[in-house]
Symmetry: D2
Subunit: 386 residues, 4 copies
């Protein structure tokens, strides 16, 4: 039997970090569709993120992206966030939107570009010092489009060198989270294409370097929960970038494409004590055609529902069936939890937390959506690149 | 034995259409890297396309994209092209870059948006009348991102209705070429995801409607040459959009990712008499990090090399081995052609055509690259969206 | 609001056909693991299938495979089945296990092999006459392993010719259901690789020829429910071969790998009036490591659960949200149905049908599993090839 | 400029190990097609392997598979091989064809089965001692078919424990080569699914444990040459199992599906000094429909051709173009080598080695194929499982 009280306790302490950039405009290479009311500054992004936390209760921090969220006074930004009930989370670097980065950043064949990229990463650690952020999240667009374009192995050497310098700059309590990505925007090779490559580099760097699993960054058919289990077993799972996809890095709302997969991932997190370790649960999504704040609320709820189901798995029955080699019995125990409708449990939980049981309805009633459309007139909407 | 003279004749009459948009800037959703010297108008795109033809001898026409290549006087544009040795080719429509098209164009749930999209397509036929273009090439970004977002089947009804109206507008000698695409920018469904869907619609429309195979628009593992063989057998192959890819619609230079696949495709074209039918051979690529004109020259050469190899297949030996069930023997006949180095043959061919045997070296020597960098200063570079 | 009474009525009349071969042994190319109690004859397979129907109430027919289920007296077989509460379903042909079929069957380069294959198919129609089966289900292992091995297009001609002869033999009320398959056991080309190819052939043959969708026979990322919607729209969906897969044609229990996909497929069936048309719902699975009868019961239940959820979709709310372009709202309507726990509803339904609410528990209590282990001693267990 | 003499020297010392099981029968789960003349014993397999070496000059060793190649006297077997001009190579274990292994071998939930599996591996090391083989090649069919079936992480613990015991048994000069596989015969998880997992285990075991790259064991779109480059950089590439595939683990002749990929892999081997290190180049293929000995000769030649092209890459020009960021120029240098027809060079090389320039024609003329058909009558043909 599962201990419902323990499940609720776990769910109440869950924390999902939302990304500042998901509140701004984004799109595909074909078109960025803008939306009315979108934030025009980091400050307004934080206001929106605070709404998500206000209605879900489990989205207490906001990831920043540098330079998109650059401000003159990070202490003021942190105070602004705090006043709205949220905190500043991971610092995300950007080494892909300058003209210099056409052929890569810290893997670039030209040492001057590599220097520039590393300097940017060092600046991000400075910002972490200012914001109190614990995590530097690194994703590199580095790679090549054509066989022969660059030396695959030399790029690994450059990568190792650049990471090492940045690692040395990390202070106590600061981590470097290295993300891997199967493809895009580089099409032939990416310089950190899989968890194995990220692991190799993190292992050499040391205990402050850990791997980030972005759920959209894998080849078709990849068993992501296996990777999660393996990284937890190795003590190298730093966190997640959640989103969902049907084919590529679609960046759809987490849980929208394959909710069963999300549940299986969350089960391995529970199994590997990931909730009690320092695994960061972050969203990294693009809401190109749907309303942004409700999409993020729904995403947080999707993570919550998958977590609740994972916590409801009757682990002793499961272990017994597994030990007995009872294939159908063990599968059935897992599916029983998945097939449970956890929405009533979560509504009850929210009410216990002083929230509305239905975050989307409550947000819709709040008038925030109408208010930002009315008030955020003029200026430059935030987006990728701003 | 293969008749080398016949091979040469076939190669000399080959025609690869280059796309006006490949001369302008393009990129990924992360960044568009601009290049010096890029055209600032349809006129300048035609100048560049004329260079490609001048050095390869087999790229006599240029596809236009509306509205990116809109001009006041298409007759003047056609004359301008002709004076530079090239002609205007297919007209490509754009129903994806207006804000109205966020949820689709001719499949949109709102009839007003569908009307706008169809009107645009009708305008494209008007332009065909003005330019003398024979082909209207249709690619729709239509689709959905989330299960439930729209009614999959109703969208097919809307698609059929819109296509039917446009089909009715086609004049004698005009065709509608319908492209399919597996994914992107829609991620859950695309409204014409595969050749089967395109075929179903074209079959109902009539003989002026044919299917376009974009080599980058398939699921992993798809046997593209099988589709080519099947469409030729059905008389429904309208043409190709050539490019290459490692994973998604990477839009790399054709032949760069899998030259053996390109050869196999070309072999099925030869086998199915595709060179003597009205199959259009077009490029549709993005040169995001490499120099554009040389990349297009190389692409044309890649198509040429694959074609030469396909023509060199000893078809009577192949047929004999196939009939005998000689698996290894038949495979060997095909591979013999593929393993042949056709570059000397093509150099010879070019010289017979009064061209330099090495188009890339000749282009490099011509000074055109330096000239456009020097002269095309100021103004707005052409790109997706302009 | 959904009409629960109508949902129940629909669920009570649902019919899932189970395949005789799933009760026998099967495996991978590496090993067939035998199981105690497995049937040694078509008669014993029917006994087991009758158990599945007895406990689920919705598995009234059994598909036969020829020659695996060849008997001298099909009328006796039909009577035997009827006495146990089930009927004989589709006849499945086998043109892949004779030595002659190494390079194909009706697409083979040798006319004598093609003749043999067609004769087998004609014999299957004879058997249909004897059993009263309405459907001839055709899956061809035909294809090639190496580029050049055979002529892709000539094989299509042979396929069309063979199918045409068999089609001509079909009587009133008999159908030919043509299955497509992406890969395996042929690796380079399969002769009916996708729904488009199956559709092209069925369209030419006539109204008695329809396409079968095997849910495991697609490229990664393929949107199967789109194919279902399209085939229903064209009146060409003959039926399903249900199973599930993580990567290839894994033939796992339907609903085990991606229950959300199964729900989406079932929703398109409901949407396209597939339950009221002549769509056949069949299982085609291999239970290589799990107990066979319980696995088939679970599979039937998985189809039932997905169907129940599909029927519970609030279609008027969905249509309203779709028409309004409310992406998140429309998605939420669909997800509300999916997230519903339908197990209580189905238990209630079964009790209304005079069955135990929990088929797996009831089967386990029945003693059948122990009985067949005890009684089916000696003889040759049924399997692929027997 | 490339030094042709050095290229030839490298090619003359190349060694490709052929697998004993490729000379026997194999097939798909649907059918094993037997072939006349197939060996009936390990001795006859060695006779056939000796033919491959006799005509190619670069296939000097033969991998054994235990228990398929079990003999009473391994010294006699080694002597028999030596007399025919070949040597015994890697020992391959089999932990997948006993009934006990239904749910795994060294990852099995039952300790008794794990014990049996480890004992088998230890026996393989005994055999290595007897044959003088340096390498123990480990591939595990272990995995699960259904979510929940077993504990993903516990299976890793069991794997580590079992490997550790076997590692401890290795003598001086003996290695353990650990193969990973994406899927099949397990469909939900495999216990060593990717290079990262194999690397993690090998790293912990020590320097005698290295990773084997089977070219058919990856997800679609995986950049295999990147993995090769990375493992070489880490000193952990133990060898290759060569074959080719279009979709799954098709086990076709290496180089048949994507010769350009094979070239890129070989280029990374050259680049990473893999030819001068202890990387083992082995074939692991199934010749289900084609004649086995000629297929293996062709496979060896395909490896040779790809190697020759890789050696012909003008590395100084390549490095210069890469350093300059000349995308097209660097790509062109690589492609120039790939587009070269190396068959004349290899014919010349063979003649210098005292061989016929055309191994396949020479083998065909030798009469061996006819002789084994005539002489190998009766008995039990070797195959998977025998």
């Amino acid at each position: 039997m599962t201990d419902l009280a323990a499940v609720k306790t776990a769910l109440k302490t869950q924390a999902v970090e939302t990304p500042s950039w998901a509140y701004g405009n984004s799109g595909t290479r074909f078109k960025v569709f803008t939306q009315a009311g979108v934030p025009r500054s980091p400050w307004e992004k934080l206001e929106d993120a605070a709404q998500v936390h206000a209605f879900t209760g489990v989205a207490p921090t906001v990831a920043l992206h540098i330079p998109w969220d650059k401000v003159d006074d990070y202490a003021a930004l942190a105070k602004f966030a705090e006043e709205r009930g949220v905190g500043l989370g991971a610092i995300n670097s950007n080494t892909f939107q300058d003209d210099d980065y056409k052929l890569g950043s810290i893997c670039h064949p030209d040492a001057a570009v590599r220097r520039k990229a590393v300097d940017h990463l060092l600046e991000c650690v400075d910002i972490m010092d200012a914001t109190g952020s614990a995590d530097l999240k690194l994703w590199f667009a580095d790679g090549t489009n054509y066989p022969g374009q660059d030396d695959v192995r030399a790029r690994q050497d450059r990568l190792a060198e650049g990471l090492s310098e940045v690692y040395g700059r990390l202070g106590d309590g600061q981590r470097m989270l290295l993300e891997y990505k199967f493809f895009e925007p580089a099409f032939y090779t990416t310089d950190v294409p899989d968890w194995g490559t990220a692991y190799v580099h993190c292992l050499k760097l040391g205990s402050k370097a850990q791997v980030v699993v972005d759920t959209g960054h894998h080849a078709p058919g990849t068993n992501i929960e296996f990777i999660v289990a393996t990284l937890l077993r190795e003590g190298k799972l730093g966190g997640f970038d959640f989103n969902s996809r049907f084919y590529a890095d679609d960046d759809l709302m987490v849980g929208a494409a394959d909710p069963f997969q999300l549940f299986r991932i969350m089960y391995e997190v529970v199994r590997g004590d990931g909730f009690t370790s320092e695994v960061a649960f972050m969203l990294d999504q693009c809401h190109t055609i749907e309303a942004k704040i409700p999409a993020i609320i729904r995403s947080v709820m999707n993570v919550q529902e998958a977590t609740a189901k994972a916590l409801l798995v009757d682990r002793s029955s499961l272990a017994a069936a597994q030990a007995a080699g009872d294939v159908l019995g063990a599968h059935a125990v897992l599916m029983d939890a998945y097939n449970t409708d956890v929405r009533p449990l979560l509504a009850e939980l929210r009410e216990e937390m002083g929230l509305d049981g239905d975050p989307l309805a409550a947000y819709a009633r709040s008038g925030w959506a109408e208010r930002i459309v009315a008030e955020r007139v003029g200026g430059q909407q935030a987006g990728w690149g701003a």
